[in-house]
């Protein structure tokens, strides 16, 4: 029991925070608990939530994709430019845009997996480059007048009250969770994130997994970009600019280790709910969007800092107890260290 509590400690902490936020929100406004409000809450950042799902897998794998927001802008720009050109049916434009997103991801993946470059660097280049490509395609215009079905798909609910993007998010996070926890591929994602060298020696094709994940990341970012274009009804060169930080915040707040190898989609789902509820509540309390971002930034730091401090306090108490050998000089690297950099892959992989 104690073991299980410890194993799910991050998720329990997040659930407690979520409950606290919801409780405050309920006391702030009687309208908060309506389904409509719940749907609205998701509506404004659903594209970020979709990308956060794939980003979770990328970060667990020990890599990072900073280019997602630019790839969103890029594939939206592809749709817009093809639509403006007018020579292809709109559905074809959408397909081409999705392929363009996947292609961008493939390009990053080739540099990371085949050449062994750090993804942080490759995707910073991608962040700058694909934003540039989006600007080249759209210029300083705002391209709109999409077919009506496209706008409706982005703006109107599809099933009941839920929009297409929301359904894609739910299906995506469940599918990703199954892949991550129940398949050999998911297992290898954790193992590589823990220790790529060990993974290589145990016969996992590290390059192929990384290539697959980064390509998927590009594809999902492209999909999110197209959905965003549909919701907005028009595309500008700066679409989704700066989203990468929000998306990474969603993942890291969910307890995914930035060093790879540990974290769950349950945690990320909770952190998405926390962020959305927090923004909604702060909105109800008339606090501006920029201040909300600052508060979420503080929450992000606290979510790692507080467990660290608790750990260190615990180890300090143990250490100062009687009949304990004087601690070796390096003992503070143990319990006080950032959460599991190296954990037992089997244990982590089977969580959930």
């Amino acid at each position: 029991m104690r073991d299980r509590v410890l194993r799910w400690r991050t998720e329990l902490l997040l659930a407690a925070i979520l409950l606290g936020v919801v409780a405050v929100n309920v006391s702030l406004s009687p309208f908060y608990l309506r389904t409509g409000n719940f749907v609205n809450m998701f509506q404004l950042s659903i594209e970020k939530a979709i990308v956060a799902v794939i980003m979770t897998l990328v970060i667990i794998n020990g890599e990072i994709d900073l280019s997602v927001a630019s790839v969103m802008g890029f594939s939206a720009a592809v749709v817009a430019a093809l639509h403006e050109g007018g020579s292809v049916p709109f559905a074809v434009a959408v397909v081409v845009a999705l392929l363009a997103g996947a292609g961008a991801g493939l390009l990053h993946g080739l540099f990371v997996a085949r050449m062994g470059l750090p993804s942080l660097v490759v995707t910073i280049a991608g962040l700058i480059g694909f934003r540039g490509a989006a600007r080249v395609l759209v210029g300083d215009r705002s391209i709109g007048d999409f077919p009506e079905w496209f706008d409706r798909l982005g703006q109107d609910p599809l099933v009941g009250r839920f929009s297409l993007a929301f359904i894609i998010f739910v299906v995506g996070i469940v599918a990703a969770g199954v892949v991550l926890q129940r398949t050999a591929f998911g297992r290898s994602v954790y193992v590589i994130g823990n220790n790529a060298e060990v993974a290589r020696y145990s016969g996992i094709s590290v390059a192929r997994v990384k290539l697959a994940l980064l390509t998927t990341s590009g594809f999902v970012a492209g999909l999110a970009g197209v959905l965003f274009a549909a919701r907005l009804g028009s595309v500008r060169g700066n679409l989704a600019e700066g989203f990468e930080l929000d998306i990474i915040t969603m993942v890291l707040l969910g307890g995914v280790s930035i060093f790879g190898g540990s974290g769950t989609l349950v945690g990320v789902a909770l952190s998405i709910l926390i962020i959305l509820n927090l923004r909604s509540g702060l909105g109800l309390a008339n606090i501006q969007a920029t201040t909300q971002t600052g508060i979420i930034g503080a929450l992000l730091i606290a979510s790692v800092l507080v467990p660290n401090l608790v750990d260190r306090l615990g180890s300090w108490r143990r250490r100062s107890g009687p009949a304990v050998m004087p601690p070796p000089a390096s003992s503070d690297t143990g319990a006080g260290e950032v959460r599991p950099v190296v954990t037992d892959p089997n244990r982590t992989a089977h969580r959930g």
Partner: protein
Amino acid sequence: MSGTAAGPAERVADGRRPRPKLRPERLRELSLLAVIGVSVLVFSQLVDNYLSGSFFNRVTTSMAITAVLAAAQTIVILTRNIDLSVGSIVGVTAYVTGEYLAAHQTTAPVLAVGLAMLMGCVLGLLNGTLVAYGRVPSIIVTLGTLAIYRTWLIDHANSRTITADSLPQWLVEFPQRTVVSLGGLDIRLVLTVAVVVIVALQLALGRLRWGRWVYAVGSNPDAARQEGLPTERITLGAFAMCGALSGLAGFMFLSRFGTITVAAGQGLELASVAAAVVGGVSILGGSGTLIGALLGALLIDLLELSLVRVPEISVFWRDAVLGALILLAIAGDVAIGKRLRRFWTSPARHSTKPPEREATTDA
């Protein structure tokens, strides 16, 4: 102690050069210089009146800010960390310094620079404390403070803008201040400050015990800790220094643009990382030079400002080309650099290690 160990290496090296001086880092810097030279040549063919004094002045003034920030970022990256909050620190320091100068017109210039650097240093210390003593990964800390510092600025500014006409005259003229004028080429004061700062820091990194510690912590934090190095203090110091330099960049930003909104400096964090990386600083820590970062900043700003002037290329191509360039630079580094490094280390394998240890022990 290196007498026996250096023996074989000297024998091998005798054939070509007695004591090879061209380390991979130098080679990297030289190749960057070559790329910069080639781009200048190419652009001078594409653009009329490209090789003019005024363009030189524009590039060097713009580069001063990027270079100082790249140096700030490099020191942190060398310790195997990253500081994504530098753009926000630039914004905060530029705004607050501007506000202070607008209210106190007679402030001495040195005091204004000191204020900006001190403020940046405090913000950097906060980052460093959370990273070194709170043991929160730097990317998480600085992602958080990126938002927090900016939020504080927006709250504090309350949608007021600092305008150039409210600032003291000397500050507005500061970017035009020239140290030496060679023909049409002005060596501006801002450029001089940036170069002096970077060269001084490079010397400190290369010659002082502190510098070797920074590299040691970045190359292998665990080993450094077990060697008894004060890793926490070194990391804290790196962040503090990064903050102070970002403050200096904030002051330069203020003087260059005069008009400061709450969005000042946004996105500079990625530009600084890009400049460092193009300059050959390893994102994995422990390797790279500030001179490289300086050249990286020069190349990036040169391309940015040059591409805009090519008539066939629209302004919008700038970022696309920049991204491709960064990819090319790092891919080229891997493709060529790895081979060169292998070539470099294999014959001299016996000689490179002991001197390094020697250098650490006599510190």
